[in-house]
């Protein structure tokens, strides 16, 4: 019996997945965490930046052990 075909297939690279994850979560954090629109944008941008920086830093920190 053939395996069922997936309804949808979303092929993302590591970086694309991380970008998308950081973007969605940052926007949600900004909206939940702050009241004023300007504060929300600032908080979301700051969260996004930190997500990316920490993600890339951990990626490089693991690099020596990947081979």
């Amino acid at each position: 019996m053939p395996a069922p075909t997936p309804v949808m297939h979303v092929p993302f690279t590591h970086l694309q997945s991380m970008l998308l994850f950081a973007l969605i979560i940052s926007l949600a954090f900004g909206t939940l965490g702050r009241r004023r629109p300007a504060d929300r944008i600032r908080y979301a941008a700051w969260s996004f930046l930190l997500f990316m920086l920490v993600g890339i830093a951990i990626g490089w920190a693991m690099y020596p052990f990947s081979r």
Binding site: V7, H9, F12, I25, L27
Partner: protein
Amino acid sequence: MDEPVKDAPQTESLPSPVAAPSEEGRALMALAICAAGWAVPGLGHALQKMWGRALAVFLAVGALVILGAGMRGNVFTSRGEDAFATLGYFADLGSGSFYFLARAAESAGPDVSHSTGDYGTRFIATAGVLNLLAALHAYEAARGRKA
């Protein structure tokens, strides 16, 4: 001769037509809002007319669930084989009704042999945890605490 009756204190003894909810009633209402927010992402905030936050939670949790299922992430079931699978199940269940959406969208089952599937697993788990956070936020707002 009788003393004239003063009418000022009468207003205090009469019940107000729009009674303020008691502390217990308010706590119950907050719990109901929290449960609604868990069951349908964003509903807890929508019931309090926080439209922006309701929309943000609904879209964020929905996007994470749909993308996670599309990436063929693992949607954990209650029949977990180890503690991590059980933890994953509780995280996934945090997205409320969207958990069943993820199960339905992933008709071909998970594929974590590629990194995309592994990311999908995290997306789905994060959707659940984010929704739990939003439900807690809605509860705090309903209790009148700073949120």
